[in-house]
Symmetry: C2
Subunit: 501 residues, 2 copies
């Protein structure tokens, strides 16, 4: 903004004020708040300087087409807070000397280079899953792991937020918990969340994390040294492969078939293996019960520790028919369990958890304290309240039904439009895993589809050898509106034809 | 609880319900919510089994001494959510088969041992600052870094929470931001927070972290390899020393005097140094401007990178008279800046940030994505709104005044009760650093004081050589009520006498 209003122009033209408040959305919430934000910003950035006279509340109300007492209220609050001063009969002015003035700084590229030469690790050089930030701008976003506004339990969540904003609750969460979690959330996990996965844990066997991502990264930090042999699925979760490579030179790619990890020599050689047995990432394959039992027996015989990443647990329509989690089958304390609310509720919240033997949890608490103390307690408390009120259970039931219905629609549309591809999805999974027809390179395909407004995730990033994954792509279906699925897949089919010719 | 209510006892004695709802606080908030929580918990834990009949709303209302429609409302919500069923004219029952039944599990110690033998690191074996979890139970808690309820801007915070709970806002924060932050918070940091420390940064020079703790731990992970020479203050922040020791065998303890780090050969030898120049942790020493300039010149000459941990920035009563931050004096991009809202607002929120050259921020974003994706966006948004509305500035002004006043009272009381000790505190610091009289071991003293209900932090944990710190202790004064300061110090004085004799 280049507007500058000074004392010498006490009656500025209306256009100045109209521009200053151009961000105010009359149909948005809390006009009082919007007006105050705009004024504070203008004062802090120097657009409004000390002594500048504001329009009368009547005039501003007319300009913005809002009630006059909305403006009066906003002015009064800012006077109380010292941003504005009201003088008897003369009007409202910006208070003296509140601004900070940015110096004329130059950006120093030498500084950048200096730090770069000292980097001990270079995470940015690793291959990553490409997560387009601007996916909302695409009409057909078959992205994975994103949030579906229509499924978020807005009113129930707001109830939980409201309840935890009481003075007493604030005093409960605002302090430094050092290395503790909110005991209420731990209790709700024990009583309402974990039992549905067949897991029964004591409080000292649970630690809360910033999503399953932090659960995995802390377990890698704790358990993986330079020479640790770490089994990772191939294809598998790219971020996990990257974490392991930063910590160890002993990554061991595990062999996979349609039922998940194959229980073989390669698996038996590992010190520790990270597995997604309930929905293999990215194929969604669910390991059958018999394979799970064989896996646990082999782990016992060859002394392999297992981290079970159950990132999509509890989302199928008939949890009773789900294969039991590996953790629930484990009788020897060999399996550590990782869960998350990102897929079930909202990834932006960043809440996950680890269930492990007490000595592991104790060590993780000290590590987490060093790394960041603890996940924000206010969010833990909101989630605990949300679960305690029964909202979580209701939400999961609703989600599962909607998910199954949308997946059914996807299946129909895939049959209609992509009949030359092969695909798979296990119940409760939030994506399909698709194999393109021979000759189609899916990195090229993704770029071509993008031109048509269709976002898909090429599969190469999931493979240790990128070229082995060139025939595959991942189709998420929770961020795209149902009515767009058909047209989107039709366009994708066109892109496939283009790539073949 | 051992109560069990079944269908065969349709008219259970009132005492059963009174016990079931014993946690309901009639004077607490939201009775409807409390009643629902208690019922959902009883159902989930099996205290109330399927088919159990609930008391009529009239009867329960009388038992709990609440309005009847409070009970009716709670029942209706739970009926809507499927926890209860209402049958025409017959009453309200627990819905069929909602419970999960914990199996008879045994805790397997072998599992614990198995994982322990695989630990790659043992953070729990490091010396840490002892942070008593039960400090609220002590009448005289001179603890540091804890939250003072009386200073928290409750109403303004709740306004920000309310504003960010709108449907539109939820859609804005609930998604996976991959490696982004809330742009609104970054903007508020740039415009309202950093300029008060003399820092002017572009958005690509800022990353949000989970408190300064995560800022430090990520910078250690990024910049410190096995052989990196890392300068840490001695005495200094114990957690930082521990992080460095997990990453490198090249820790270099820096020499200190009353003005902070001494600019000498030891400093010049470092690849990177972590410094608390504004308030040295734990002595609170503020480095004078001339020393800061010498430090930067030496850093340039000897090619030392510097991380400035400004954990208590902006809390003195006269920011204009503060010595400028190192970052604001740096002309060569050699200083990376770490800030935090833990001391300014509430540690439980876990929000801090790093200001660094763009290439460092880029690498940190990828690292943070691997470690945990990003700090929860809802909290970023609430804080951004809080700042945007001018509440942050007002809060800091108020805090600074209260802090200065309480520090003044501390000084008076120290003079009265601990005249045989020496102490220091720089303006804006939230603790005093105290040297006990000769012959007093402060680890012993802390234990003796604790017996009298007085909590102090022995200084030994801050020293690389614990025995060098035995004469010192840290006195926080933000979690203790003002009127308790005098009596607390009187008791501490008694404890000192006891330790001498």
């Amino acid at each position: 903004m280049s507007i500058n209003i000074s004392k010498s122009a006490p009656t500025h033209p209306d256009i100045v004020w109209t521009r200053l408040f151009s961000g105010v959305d009359r149909n948005g919430v809390e006009l009082n708040v919007q007006i105050r934000r705009a004024l504070v910003y203008a004062i802090q950035t120097g657009t409004l300087t000390a002594g500048a006279r504001l329009p009368s509340s009547r005039r501003l109300a007319a300009l913005l087409n809002v009630a006059r007492n909305t403006v009066t209220g906003a002015y009064q609050t800012l006077v109380d807070e010292g941003f504005l001063v009201a003088t008897e009969r003369q009007g409202i002015y910006v208070a003296p000397s509140l601004q900070e003035h940015p110096s004329d700084r130059h950006r120093d590229e030498a500084g950048s280079l200096r730090w770069q030469s000292g980097f001990a690790i270079r995470p940015s050089l690793q291959r990553q899953i490409d997560k387009p930030r601007d996916w909302l701008a695409f009409p057909y976003p078959f992205v994975f792991g994103q949030f579906d506004p229509s499924l978020f339990p807005t009113n129930n969540w707001r109830e939980a937020v409201r309840v935890t904003s009481s003075v007493k609750e604030i005093y409960g969460w605002a302090g430094d918990q050092v290395d503790d979690d909110d005991p209420d959330l731990v209790e709700q996990l024990r009583v309402q969340v974990l039992p549905s996965r067949g897991i029964f844990a004591d409080p000292d066997e649970i630690i809360v994390t910033l999503g399953s991502q932090q659960a995995l990264s802390m377990l890698v930090q704790l358990m993986v040294g330079r020479d640790t042999i770490v089994g990772v699925e191939d294809p598998g979760y790219a971020d996990l492969r990257n974490m392991v490579d930063l910590a160890s030179s002993g990554r061991q790619n595990l062999n996979m078939d349609g039922d998940g990890v194959i229980v073989d020599e390669t698996f038996g050689r590992c010190d520790i293996a990270f597995l997604t047995v309930s929905h293999h990432c990215p194929t969604t394959a669910a390991m059958p019960l018999s394979r799970r039992q064989t896996l646990l027996e082999r782990a016992e015989a060859d002394n392999v520790l297992i981290v079970e990443d159950d990132y999509e647990g509890g989302l199928s329509t008939d949890p009773q028919q789900d294969v039991p989690s590996l953790k629930s089958l484990d009788r020897t304390g060999r399996v550590v369990y990782v869960g998350s609310f990102s897929k079930a509720l909202a990834p932006g919240l960043r809440i996950g958890y680890i269930v492990a033997p007490p000595s592991v949890i104790r060590e993780l608490r000290v590590l987490r304290r060093l790394l960041l103390r603890h996940p924000p307690i206010n969010n833990q408390r909101i989630l605990a309240t949300f679960i305690a009120l029964g909202h979580y259970r209701q939400h999961m039931d609703r989600m599962s039904i909607v998910l199954a219905k949308r997946a059914q629609h996807m299946t129909t549309m895939l049959g209609e439009h992509l009949s030359d591809c092969r695909w798979q999805r296990s119940p409760g999974a939030k994506n399909f895993w698709v194999e393109a027809p021979p000759g189609v390179d899916c990195v090229t395909l993704a770029a071509a589809a993008r031109e048509k407004g269709v976002l898909i995730e090429p599969g190469a990033a999931f493979f240790a050898d990128a070229s082995a994954g060139r025939r595959f792509f991942r189709l998420g279906f929770t961020a795209i509106a149902e009515k767009r699925i058909g047209p989107g897949l039709a366009l994708l089919s066109e892109a496939i034809s283009d790539c073949r010719s």
